[in-house]
Structure formats: structure tokens, C-alpha cells
Assembly symmetry: D2
Homo-oligomer: 366 residues x 4
């Protein structure tokens, strides 16, 4: 199965890259959320256009048609459905029998016994991040109206082998802004080098990967659940739903493993009336539950598997060696377009978690 997710709100994502449409049904949204479709369109455009000149020439308008759940501009509380019609597809670009190395072509073929829609990766295409971004745009508006103060952002910390090593103090995340929202780096010089690396890879018919840092600020302490529903478990389950993501870490993540407990434990102190921590090595999460500091995580996005360079593969019909040079239009770096997708995944998770946490407070009210 796999295409449904959530506890308090549930999302069901559907569609194939070259089918009639992709979309999402979101069940469990509160009624009365005012939905600004321009804001939705802007976030869709961010995903579609991100990286601008650097990205794939396949340009979809990505207009979202709302099929249900919206009435007079407000959510009804019953399932909200957004559909994005596929246009501008060139199915002839794909060869069914020669799976692209690094892509889902081969595994989908085995998984679905050859019945999968192989065109453009079908249900495994990066195109399926469009309904996720739609859902994220909805959740961001719900967050803004129900939990004002919560802010979600992301930035590029590495691309094409170039790192943006800018350190951000915990207290500075809430106010981060970028010179170029479509290319959110703090070290503009590093950003130029990144762009050069992407251009170089494109020139060579190759691709590069990157690291995206996501962050959530203004989130109160006490959100999340133990064991299987830790914030880390739930966020990572959504982040790994984004194609090409191969690693997720929270706070200092893998870097923590070489340090001492005395260095990595974030000391508590009273920040006025509020309990805070001096450092944020744990990324705002202790025991799976938010501690009131910014939630910070990093996502490893591998280089786009679809490249123009000739690659060794197999001809599955003839069960024989073959060579493949992927045609069609592909991003030399999907990490570029990953930012709004990562933010959307975070928005979905945070809204679901906050709504689920509301009920727990109820007991304390009595």
C-alpha cells in the first residue's frame, strides 16, 4: 500500500507522472480554515520553478483544482481534495525494458509484476511531490490560523559538493531570510559555487546531490509521542517519502556520535519564565517530544538518478546487458526543488502532531 499517512489528519496521495492527474485527499482537517488559493499557487510555483534556469525545462502550470472539502473559501471539515492535471508529458521518452540505474524502474517492475505505469516513473515520479506540496500549503495555512507563531523553513547546506557552513544560533532560526527564496543559502559565495557545480554537471550530462536543512520554530514543548510516534519517527517517515532522500538526521545527528555526553546534552536554564536550553545539539527533540527549541533536521538528497550519460543496465525483456542514455527532461539537481517539498512534509507532520496533542491537554484543563 503506502500512499496514505497520518494519525489526526490523514492524507491519501494518488497519481502517475504521465496519467491524467495527480492529487491528494486530506481527511481530518478542522472546519473553518480559510484557504487562500493564491498562497497555494505560490507554493506550487516554488516547487515547479525552484532553481529556475537550473531545473528541468518541463514546465507544468501545476494549477490545483479543489474537488471537495472547500466551501465559500473555508474548509468544511470533510475530505479536502486537490487535483493537478498532468499536461505537457512526453511519454515517448521512456523505455520500459531498460530500467534506469538508481531509479525505481526495476523495483516497480518486480513489485507490480510489470503492470506499473512505467512512463516517467509513474507513481514513483518526483511529480508525486506536487500533491504533497499542495497538502503542505494547506497545512501551513491551518498552522498559521490555529497555532500562530509556528514557522517552517528550509535552506540548502550543501550542493554539488559545496557546503554552506554558516552556523545558525538557535535563537536566530525564527528570523532567517534569504536573498533568493528560490535558492536559500546563507553564504552567498558558497551559493554561487553550488550553482556553478550544478551547471557543470548539467553540461556533462550528469547530476549532483545536496543537503537540505529544515527547521520549525515557535513550536511549544510537549508535542510528539513515545516509541513509534516520536517526532523523529514521524518526520523521517514523511521525509523518506520524498524521492531521492537517503538520509535524515536531527540536531547534530551523525556528528553527535563522535562527541561526549557532557558536550551533547543541552543544558536547561530559565529563560525568564520559560525553560530553554543553552545549546540545541538535540534539534529541539528529547525522547521524541519537542522541548520548545527549534526543531532542526537535515535531509540527504542523492544526485538525480536520471542522467544523460550512457549507463550500464539490463534489457529486462531479453534478460541481457544493455546501455541506456536517459532522454527526456531532467533536473541536474533535484535537491534544488526539494526545499518546498521538505517544508510541506514538515508542515503536514507538525499540524498532525499539534492537533493530536490538543486532546492530551484536555485532561489538565479539568
Amino acid at each position: 500500500m503506502g500512499s496514505m499517512w497520518g494519525n489526526t489528519i490523514k492524507i491519501s496521495v494518488f497519481g502517475e507522472s504521465h496519467g491524467p492527474a495527480v492529487g491528494a485527499v486530506i481527511d481530518g482537517l478542522p472546519s473553518g480554515i480559510s484557504l487562500d488559493t493564491d498562497v497555494v499557487a505560490a507554493m506550487m510555483a516554488r516547487r515547479a520553478a525552484a532553481g529556475k534556469a537550473l531545473a528541468t525545462p518541463r514546465k507544468e502550470p501545476d494549477a490545483v483544482e479543489i474537488l471537495s472539502g472547500l466551501f465559500n473559501g473555508y474548509t468544511t471539515g470533510t475530505p479536502l481534495t486537490g487535483m493537478i492535471t498532468n499536461t505537457n508529458t512526453r511519454s515517448g521518452d521512456y523505455e520500459k525494458d531498460k530500467p534506469r540505474p538508481g531509479h525505481a524502474d526495476y523495483t516497480a517492475q518486480v513489485r507490480y509484476d510489470g503492470f506499473q505505469d512505467y512512463r516517467g516513473g509513474g507513481h514513483f515520479s518526483g511529480r508525486l511531490t506536487a500533491p504533497l506540496v499542495f497538502a503542505g500549503a494547506v497545512c501551513l495555512q491551518a498552522l498559521a490560523q490555529l497555532y500562530p507563531g509556528v514557522r517552517i523553513g528550509s535552506r540548502i547546506t550543501a550542493l554539488g559538493g559545496v557546503a554552506d557552513a554558516s552556523a545558525v544560533a538557535p535563537g536566530d532560526y525564527a528570523a532567517l531570510t534569504y536573498a533568493d527564496a528560490d535558492f536559500p543559502v546563507l553564504d552567498v559565495k558558497a551559493g554561487e559555487a553550488m550553482k556553478a557545480a550544478v551547471a557543470c554537471a548539467r553540461e556533462a550530462g550528469d547530476s549532483v546531490g545536496g543537503v537540505i536543512e529544515g527547521y520549525v520554530t515557535g513550536l511549544r514543548a510537549g508535542v510528539g509521542d513515545p516509541i513509534f510516534d516520536t517526532m523523529e519517527s514521524r518526520l523521517s517517515s514523511l521525509l523518506f517519502a520524498v524521492p531521492a532522500v537517503k538520509g535524515v538526521e536531527f540536531g547534530d545527528g551523525f556528528a553527535m556520535t563522535g562527541s561526549k555526553g557532557s558536550q551533547m546534552n543541552d543544558a536547561f536554564y530559565m529563560d525568564g519564565e520559560r525553560v530553554a536550553t543553552r545549546t540545541n545539539h538535540n534539534g529541539g527533540i528529547n525522547g521524541g517530544i519537542t522541548n520548545g527549541m527549534p526543531v532542526v533536521f537535515r535531509v540527504a538528497v542523492k544526485p538525480t538518478p536520471s542522467i544523460a550519460l550512457p549507463q550500464e543496465t539490463v534489457d529486462m525483456a531479453r534478460r541481457a546487458p544493455a546501455t541506456l542514455a536517459v532522454k527526456g527532461r531532467h533536473d541536474p539537481c533535484i535537491a534544488l526543488r526539494a526545499c518546498p517539498v521538505i517544508e510541506a512534509a514538515a508542515a503536514l507532520c507538525i499540524l498532525d502532531s499539534l492537533m493530536g496533542a490538543e486532546k492530551w491537554k484536555r485532561s489538565a484543563d479539568k
Copy 2:
């Protein structure tokens, strides 16, 4: 909520560190699985004893009492329940009002409005990995009987700042053995240095972290699901359920982000009748679905937060600064005990995924 997980089989974990018992209910196991309780006991002992002299002196027999679901030595197919009675607890060691930095004490206090069982971390204690290991021991036996050939292992690749950089070729994972199963390193010299680092940290009242690599071999291609139920999503949701895990990566993970697509795409070739890949940068997973190569992942385990060194914290009752030196018995490196837990998590995920995948083949049979 949070303490239930699974699609085809479902597990429900319960208990607190210093309560009467911890345990797990596993629903959905096939009937007729022969359960060797000695094998269960051996895996429980591995978790309890791992690292031997290096680990915490709190020694629990960790005997599992089966309450239901087993009849004449075979699973009945109805819920299997294992209970592990808590003994040898010293609750006096814990101070409710001074949360341990890096631990769940503060977040649980907020999350549950002060009603949590704070003794020893309660439901957030590493003790809760005992029922997970029990479940893993059951799942491993089910795997052996239903899907012979599937093998799950783990090894330490870094500890206390010391790396075991041994490279393992994809074809060599299935046969990996270790000189010391309780301390599974390939580079024995590095292992000695790791042990020294742990001893040194213990001496200093401090703690260290580590990286565990888990692997699954003998797994057929075509297991897993798209979008939210990718193997990466599901494995990571379980791995982040293990206390102190702060990062998860698959294949080359974060290291992929600095490489080119042409380097990271694992080329397909015919290995006799079987499709295989030349390299395994993607860790045996493409598009969230297994490709028949070993599934390889790495888990970042942070340094144990409970340390003897004095730390800055707050007195929550008085809302004032405080100092805490954690008493009680604690591991200087929980990564040492993480191996059987990580294997258990993988076993649960793989069995659930394989059982869920069976039904899909049905259509092809007709």
C-alpha cells in the same frame, strides 16, 4: 499515542522502567511458527549483557513470560504477548524536579502534565527496548521459517570517536562474522581503541556515542511500497523509536550528496539469471522498494545523556537554576547495547513488509 506500530503485523509496547513489567503484544503473526524460547532468551541476554564489563551494572534476568498466543510451542495466530517483570530497580536514584539534560524528563513532564512515571525515564527508558528485542526475536524465527535465506545483522562502525572504516563488498555481507558477537567490529584494532574510549569516558563520569550499521541479506527484490511506506520510511520510523538514535541513512546516505549521479547510480547487470547491481550505493533500495541487493543502513546513536558529571539544569518546582549529577547505574555508551535492538527493529519491519508483499504476488499467480 505512539506505542503501536505495523501494517500486516501490529505490535503494542507497554511498560515503565520502574513499574511492574514491560512487554509487547504482537498481533497478526501467522499461526504455526515454532518458537524456541531459548533463542528468545539468548537475544534478550545479548541486549542485557552487551558490552559486558563496559555496560551498566543493573543486571536484569529479563526472562520473558509468554501470556498468550503460544500453544504447544507454536504461535496460535492470535495475539502473542510477552511480559518481562521489572526487578532490581532503585527508584530512589531519580529526582523528579531536576530533568536530566538530553533526556526525556522535561518533555515528558510537559507532555503528560506531570503525571508521567518519572522513575528511570518511565516509558521513555532504554528498558523499553527489552520488549522490542523480544518482538525481534520472535520475528527472526518467523523469518527463518517463512522466508529462509533472509539474514539480519549489525556491526559497530564507530564508537567514542573511533571509526571502523572496514569496507564490506555487497556480496560479503551475508557471511559476516565477528570475533566477539557482543562487540561486532571488523577492525579488531579499532575495536580495542573503541573500548578504551568507553572506559575512559566511564572513568570521567562521561559517555560516548557511536554508529551502528545494520544489514539485511537474502531479501528478494520487490519488497516495500511507494510514498509513505517506503522501506526507508518504515525502517527509519522504527529505528528512531530506539532511544538516543538521532540519524538514519541508507546505503552511502549523506556521503551520496557530494557525489555525481554517474557515480552513485548502481549499474544493473545480469548475474546469471538474476538482475544485480555492480555497486550498492543505494543500500539495496530504489524508490523505496528492495532491489535484491543487501539492505544496508547506518544509525547514529548519541552519547548516553545520563552522566555522572555535574550538569546545569533547572528545578522545575521552584522554576530556578539547579545542578544535577546523575546517580544510579548508567551505560557510558548505549550504542554498545544497540546492536540487538537495531536488529530487532529490522526484523519486525522486514517480516511485516514481506508478509504484506505476499498478497501482491497473488495476482500474478492467476
Copy 3:
């Protein structure tokens, strides 16, 4: 929440009566099911047209547009989405502030704080049975291809106070046919009286209810689960999802309560190589699991709440007494259209249960 259901396959239903579209996403279908869209259309037409002259004049073509999950005529195994565009709506017929007695108008208003799409009952409209019938038509084809021999049918046993008391022997269910598929009664004379009762109610601006008997034949023994997932639990949860259903019973149901155990226990005997029961008072289900006899259940459908006769209600805006005479086009007896809906619900449940039961047999195979 509420608009998602299922274990092995999951369905997500969306839409409002007077919104752009209604539809369903079905996740978890096996790949490779050949889908005959004419068969789908025929079942949609059965729902739309049932009772012909007797039913509402609102005639929708109810053409299903497949948005995803179908490729070259076969299911892909990824989410199958069917959308039915709403046309021919007359929203002016509805008064928001005067809830129709017996309908969801008032409860939806409270539940969604006034943000619900009140037109035509919105998400609570009988129109939402259209996506359910679509899903049922898909599941029936999957059943035919994966589990040949399973047959699902329904008949009217009471309507407008007139009963069709025809007894059907367990062995005769599999071959039941009706003179008029749109009005499936066995006692044709009773059928005429039923039609007269409906016509009479329509004439009077009133409505009538009925009882539908559903049955599943050719189903093997051993399907279903204990406790919360009994066949009765799961079938009833779907049957009560059909608007206006207020009662569900299995086998002799309520009539069993006045009998003795010695009368109601269905004696086992060997029917050749097969275990069978002499009688079928338990409706083919013992302990929640099928016993190989026909699964038989009855569903109470209340009289359509939307009637032309003036009724006492309240003006919710003014919080004052009011009178309502429902305008618009309404069925004098929705039980007439319930047959294909009940069959669809049963098909969904039986397919889900059979697919879920496949995996259990796996253990026995080894």
C-alpha cells in the same frame, strides 16, 4: 475523520453533493486486475436508475473518470482513483437554517461549526454512495479474477411495510435470479404491493423504508478475524456507512434471540469431503469467521428523511420554531437504490478480508 476504511486495501471517499465532484481513492489493490469500465458503468447505472420511475428525477450520468492506477486496462497496484463529476444540481432547493428532521443537517452544523457544505446534505448526501458503488464495481471484478466462485447479491425482503417472506435454502442462494434486477424480489406479488406502497407514499409527499438482504456465496471457510475484526464487525461498519441504514443483522439475527441453542446451533455434517452445516441460522459466520456457508445479512433502511410534507423544525439562525416542506427531488424510498450500494459494501469487505487472509495461509504452505 471517517472517510477512510480498510486493512489490506484502503478506500478514501471524498466529495459533496453539490461540489465539483465525488470520488474514491482505492489503495492496495493488486496489480494486474483487468478493469472493464463498461461493467463499472453498468453498476453505476444500477445505482442511479434503480426503481426507475419510482426514484428521484435527478438523473446524473454518473460517468466515472479514472484519474490514476489504471494503465492499459489493468490496475497498476498503486492508488486507483475514480472521480464522478457532479452535474444537474439545484442548490437553491436547500435552506441552510432549517435542518431537515431525520437528516444530518443539524448534526453536521454542530459538528463542523457551520462550515459544512449544506447544499444537498454535502458530504452526508446519498450521492456519496456513488464512489462506494464505483469501489464496489472494482472490487467485484478483482474478486472475479482472484477468487472465482465468490458471488455477491442482494434482494428486497420488505418495503413500505410489505414483506417478501420467501425462504431461501442455504444451497439456493448461489443461483438466485430475479425477474427484474432493478427490483429484486422473489415474491413478485409482494413486489407489486411494494411498488404500490412507494407510489402511494410519493403521492402523499411521504416516504417509506425497507429491508435489504445481502448474501455472499462461494466464500471459503476461515475468512475473518477475532474480536474487533469479525466479519460482522467489519461488514456492519461498512453497512452503517450507507446513509439511512439503522440496523444490521446476520443470519437469523434478532429472531435468534427468542429461540433455543438447540434450535439455532447449525449442526455440522460431512457434505462429501467438505464440512457443511445443515441449517444456516448463523449466516455463514461463527466466531466472526466464515464457515463456508453463504454469508447472509439484513439491513434496515429507514424511510427517506427528505419528504415534501410540512414538518416541524427550528430556525437555527433565529433559534426559533419553524416549519419546513422539503423542496427538491427526492426518492420516496432510498431502500430501492440501496441494493447495489449494499453489494458494493460487501464486495469491498470481502475482497479486503480475502486478501488479508491470504497471508495467513502462507504459514501452512511451508
Copy 4:
């Protein structure tokens, strides 16, 4: 699977009739609920003793041992586990190869390929209602503390062919009391006849069934969800989890089908500031959502299948005809013990629904 249920709170039931213990894990309870174990014990005793002299001589103390989730007398918010040790079992009374007609023996044998614990019905035994009653006793206390005013009760409306036809006006349900809580009938004379019918059946080695009416008062309007999570769907899915239940109806249920819409539509009126209905034919539920009137439902409990009279069955080992006279201790009427079980099921459903409904109100608060 089947032994887990719930949305906002989740329950996992385990155990076999003659295994070491039965029990339940309840995840998702709010923290801070004060749990009076005497109240739990009293409800357990009601289930065990109900009908007193009339019921089975198998007397279990049914003491509940709390394994987790309770600390200093309050729920912690993490999983609450109650275990009831099985004692006083006489396994020799059961013959594996001769399935009891009307019971789950045969279907469990097929379902689990012969590995089920057949002793006393195993996981299908009425004994499994003990953990359900434990869960109900917990939920009733949570309801009392979180949603004061909500009251759940039940009464016998028919037993052994004798009806208690007492009509109860909607406004009178909240104050219903019975002369004998263990035998809750309103018409005491009918009650005497019922008891006589039970005694007569026991004398004859036979059994009788009955109808239990459950009711929930003090429940606000707006609780429940559309389509698959209607109050009817969710309540019935739990009620059919109770062994021997073969029918469930809401309000006037099957009796509505012979009436007119004009008779069955419950007219709205202003009862002071509150919207109420003149009648309650719909049992307090419109469109699956509560309307503020008492929720009223009736449950058909078939005659106990285990009877002493000789019955025709098959010898499954020899695949041959056989005769069975059930030995052991069995209730001549399980309907007698069904009242606390039905109340427990309702309490679980209502608490889960109310907690789930809390979050929806959030949007209106802003």
C-alpha cells in the same frame, strides 16, 4: 489480525480462555485520570457474577493486575495495561476434534490451520470480554472526569422469548434505575418469567438468547464522523466484537422500515436554548453524528452455543459424522452477562469519539 481497535485511544486485547492470562493494553488515554481500582473490580464482578445462580459455576476472581500506565493512582498517559490471570480452568472438558455447533471451534481450526488454542474456545472465548470490561471500567472513569454528565447504561428487553415491552421516554433514560442491577429489567414481572425461561433451559441442557438495550445520555450533539466512522459504524464494530451478538440496531432500527418518513423523522424544537427532538426514533444519531438526544441501541444475543444436549457434529480428524454433548460449565444464557460488556463497549467508543471530537472544536475557538 483483529484484536486492536480505536482512533484516538487504541485498545489491544490478548489472551486465551485457558492460557496464562487475558488482558488489554490501552494506548492514548489522557494522563491524570484518577483510577479507582475498586470501581474496576466492581464492574469486573458484575460481569463475572451477573445472573448469579443462573450463570456458569466457573467463578474466577477476575482480579486485574495493572502492569503499566498507572502511577500514584493516576494514568500516566502512556499505555495502560491490565492483566487478568486465568485460574480454575478445566481444560480436559474440551474435545479438539469435535467442533461445537454455533461456536468458533471449526472456523478457528480452518483459520489458524489447527494451531489455535482450542481449549475453551481460546481467543474466541467469552472470557475475552473480561479485558473489554476492564477497558470499559477505565473509560467510564475517564468519561466521568473529562465529560461529566455522560452516563451509560443497559437493560434487558427480551430474554428466553419473554419481552420487557416497557417504553422509555427519551427524557427518562438518564434516570433509569433497576431493582436488581444484576438483572436490569423494568417490568419486574417479565423479569420473573425471563428467569424461569433460563432455569427451564438450563434444566433441559439447552440455552436461550436475549436482547440488550444500551443507552448513552448526557452526550452533546456533534460527536461522530461521516461515512465509515459514523457512531453507528463504530459502535456496531465494537458490539459485534462481543461473542454471540448477531444483530445491532439504533433507535427504532428494523421497526423503522415499516413506517413512513413523516412518522420516523424526529421533529426539531427549541427546548429552551437547546435544540431537541420531539421523538427519538433515530436513537440520538443523524447522519452518523449525535444530535444531543439519548443514544439508544439494541443488541441481539443469540442463545449460548455450548449446550449439554447431544448435537450432530463432525469428527474433523476422521472426517466423519459424530455426536457431541458439551461438558464443562456453561451459561444457559450469556445475554445475562452481556450488560456490563455492552456498556464497556459503549464507554470505549464514546470516550474515543469524544476525545477525537475535541480537536475539531479547536477551529471554532479561534
